[in-house]
């Protein structure tokens, strides 16, 4: 008796967003009626599915650990990532340095941990930026049609023609020098990727919104007198969003890789900042003598990208109700 009651009170506090998946055991008639008439939003239902998916939990766990690593690297590794002793140059993995030492005798493990911040910042910020701008401009284009649609779509087409790496090289080599502070380089890099990255999201969203807005349930929503914005946000977008989720999460890896490639080319972050791309770049000349220098940052890069892709795929599946039960 007390458990459902407590749950109801919690639901009240949470503004009615009830998650009634709690008590599944035998309950009395009155309680059954109280809990069964509840309906939940699409996100809460999705979460119910997600928490029973081991792949999703693992990938979210990995992402959380990496995020923690980015926020507080000193919790994971002691020592300074930029201090090393040349006597340990290119030493392989040992109990002293789990991932070995690079050419300057710096601890690779420490550097990988400290490198998470730059890589994840680029990955998160770019994904957030491109997805938000892509969703807004894509739905505006699809909804307004006519000249607005043409202008947005053509601008997008133009930007899509230039690959990130090329755009990054041009912008960074023009706007930054070796003296530019790292945070400025990173900001410019992120903005460049956002500017050149939103069109692919917008393009996909535009086409799915165009399909969805002619669906019968959108007309039915209109026939029930729901407002235009209600129909757009609650009925069109949730149906149009799943391709975007997959695309965005898959691109997190791409953004991190772009930062890595630019750092590899010497255009991205420079010492004393540490990033995985920079480490791969540093390790490349010692491929034969000190493979571990290249290997470990690459593994972290791959695991991060994989975690985001798996999380996105699980999220997409969970948001599609036909996959439930």
């Amino acid at each position: 008796m007390s458990e459902p009651l407590a749950e109801e009170m919690a639901a009240e506090v949470l503004g009615g967003q009830t998650d009634s998946a709690g008590p599944t055991g035998p309950v009395s008639r009155g309680e059954e009626e109280a809990s069964d008439t509840r309906t939940r939003g699409v996100w809460i239902d999705a979460w119910r599915v997600l928490r029973s998916k081991p792949l999703f939990l693992i990938s979210i766990g990995v992402i959380l650990i990496l995020t923690l690593m980015a926020i507080a690297p000193s919790w994971f590794a002691s020592g300074d990532p930029n201090q090393g002793s040349l006597s340990k140059s290119l030493q392989g993995p040992s109990s002293e340095g789990w991932f070995g030492f690079d050419v300057n005798g710096r601890n690779v493990y420490t550097r990988v941990v400290y490198g998470a911040r730059a890589s994840l910042t680029v990955g998160f910020a770019c994904t957030l930026g491109t997805t938000l701008i892509g969703i807004v401009l894509g739905s505006v284009a699809a909804y307004s049609s006519g000249p607005v649609d043409s202008v947005i779509s053509r601008i997008g087409d133009m930007l899509l023609g230039i690959p990130f790496a090329l755009a990054g090289i041009i912008v960074l080599s023009t706007l930054t020098t070796f003296d530019t502070p790292n945070w400025q380089v990173e900001t410019i890099l992120i903005l460049t990727i956002i500017v050149f990255g939103w069109p692919s999201i917008a393009r996909v969203l535009r086409s799915t919104v165009l399909v969805t807005r002619n669906a019968d349930y959108v007309v039915a929503g209109k026939a029930l007198g729901l407002s235009g914005s209600r129909v757009l946000f609650r009925h069109i977008l949730p149906n149009a969003i799943s391709p975007i989720l997959v695309l965005s999460t898959m691109r997190v890896g791409g953004y991190i890789a772009t930062e890595a490639s630019l750092s590899y080319l010497g255009l991205g972050l420079h010492p004393p900042a540490v990033s995985w791309g920079q480490m791969v770049s540093d390790g490349q000349p010692y491929l034969r003598t000190g493979f571990h220098v290249l290997l470990f940052p690459s593994i972290f890069l791959a695991i991060t990208i994989l975690a985001f892709v798996l999380a996105g795929e699980a999220l997409r599946e969970a948001l599609d109700p036909t996959n439930r039960r």
Binding site: G16, T18, E32, E33, D36, T37, R38, T39, R40, G41, V42, D45, A215, D216, Y217, V219, A220, G221, K222, A223, L224, G225, L226, S227, R230, R234, H235, P238, N239, L319, D320, P321, T322, R324
Partner: protein
């Protein structure tokens, strides 16, 4: 009630002896306008619906019956479809002269609609309980809990078994008949005075059809609700409609009480339709089909659109649209020989 809303623009019915009909459609015309041409889809359609009355708008595909329904509802796909003429007045207020905000407020609350394909008319990503409750929350200002309780009652009312426990299920987890019941629950959630059902049972099999129609009829008589039943199914019409509006190529060719079309059909088209209904007597002779096909709306000439397929066609039929004549009280037909047909049973 609409009449209670003081801000509603509308005629002041001072001295009007009779209460205005629930719905009055006068000379409605709907056009599809493309860059090159304007095609008349609905031409000069007039009819009335009273409270508690079931009016069947009968016609084959492309006869303009769905467009008429959408025009009344105000959900025509504009562009390319436009209302080109006429008026639609609801409880004495002209819907076509109303600002869009008022029009939207009337949708769902006073006039509601049921669609043919219930699978595509329900949003696949939300549970049915959520969708029914959404209407109540957004339009009736109910809180989540109250709306959910009311939604469960509504699902119960449309005879969904175990309604409470099915609130959380998604549209694809329901059968076609049950989904159509969910649609009905959503449509009547705000207790409208008029319901437009666009081929509500076409996608269902015959036994389910009858059950759904009985539910609809029960709801209409309980609530004194007018029902416009858009259909091509003479069987459904004969059983459930009070009056029939028969449409052909965008025009009303005959309108009468339901029995009238079976006892004294006054238009060659309705006669041909009745003859084409399969009966056991046809076992040896085969079906009596109407020769030819309904015309392309672009190619309807100045005369009677049915003339090319009509066995009674005369030269005058092609000159002008036959005037609508009253062959009996409440029984009108747009045919030059309407009276002869009506008398000759």
């Amino acid at each position: 009630m609409l009449d209670d809303s003081p801000a509603l623009p509308g005629p002041v019915l001072a001295g009007a002896a009779t209460e205005p009909a629930l719905l009055e459609v006068r000379s409605l015309g709907v056009q599809i306008r493309t860059r090159r041409e304007s095609i008349d889809i609905v031409r000069d359609v007039s009819f009335e619906v009273a409270r508690g009355e079931t009016v069947a708008v009968l016609g084959e595909s492309g006869s303009g019956k769905t467009m008429t329904g959408h025009a009344i509802m105000g959900i025509l796909d504009t562009p390319p479809a436009y209302i080109s003429s006429g008026s639609i007045s609801f409880q004495g207020h002209d819907l076509l002269k109303m600002p869009e905000r008022r029009r939207r407020d009337i949708r769902g609350r006073h006039i509601s609609m049921i669609f043919q394909d219930s699978l595509s008319a329900l949003n696949p990503v939300f549970s049915v309980g959520f969708q029914v409750a959404e209407v109540l929350r957004k339009r009736a200002g109910m809180g989540r809990r109250e709306a959910n309780a009311r939604a469960a009652e509504l699902l119960d009312l449309v005879e969904i078994p175990n309604a409470r426990n099915r609130m959380r299920d998604y549209p694809h987890e329901f059968s076609g008949g049950m989904r159509q019941r969910v649609m009905i629950a959503m449509a009547i959630a705000l207790e409208p005075e008029l319901l437009i059902a666009d081929e509500p049972t076409t996608a269902l099999d015959v036994t389910i059809q009858a059950q759904i129609m009985e539910t609809l009829q029960r709801l209409c008589s309980d609530r004194d609700m007018g029902l416009i039943l858009i259909t091509h199914d003479l069987g459904v019409v004969s059983e459930f409609a009070d009056r029939i509006i028969l449409m052909y190529a965008g025009r009303v060719v005959e309108s009468c009480v339901t029995a009238g079309i079976f006892t004294q059909a006054a238009h060659p088209y309705s006669r041909a339709l009745l003859d084409s209904v399969p009966q056991s007597a046809h076992r040896e002779t085969g079906l009596n089909v109407i020769p030819g096909a309904p015309p392309d709306p672009r190619e309807v000439g100045v005369g009677c659109a049915f003339a090319p397929r009509c066995s009674h066609a005369m030269d005058q039929c092609l000159v002008a649209v036959p005037p609508t004549v009253t062959v009996a009280p409440g029984h009108r037909s747009a045919c030059l020989i309407a009276r002869e047909l009506a008398d000759h049973v």
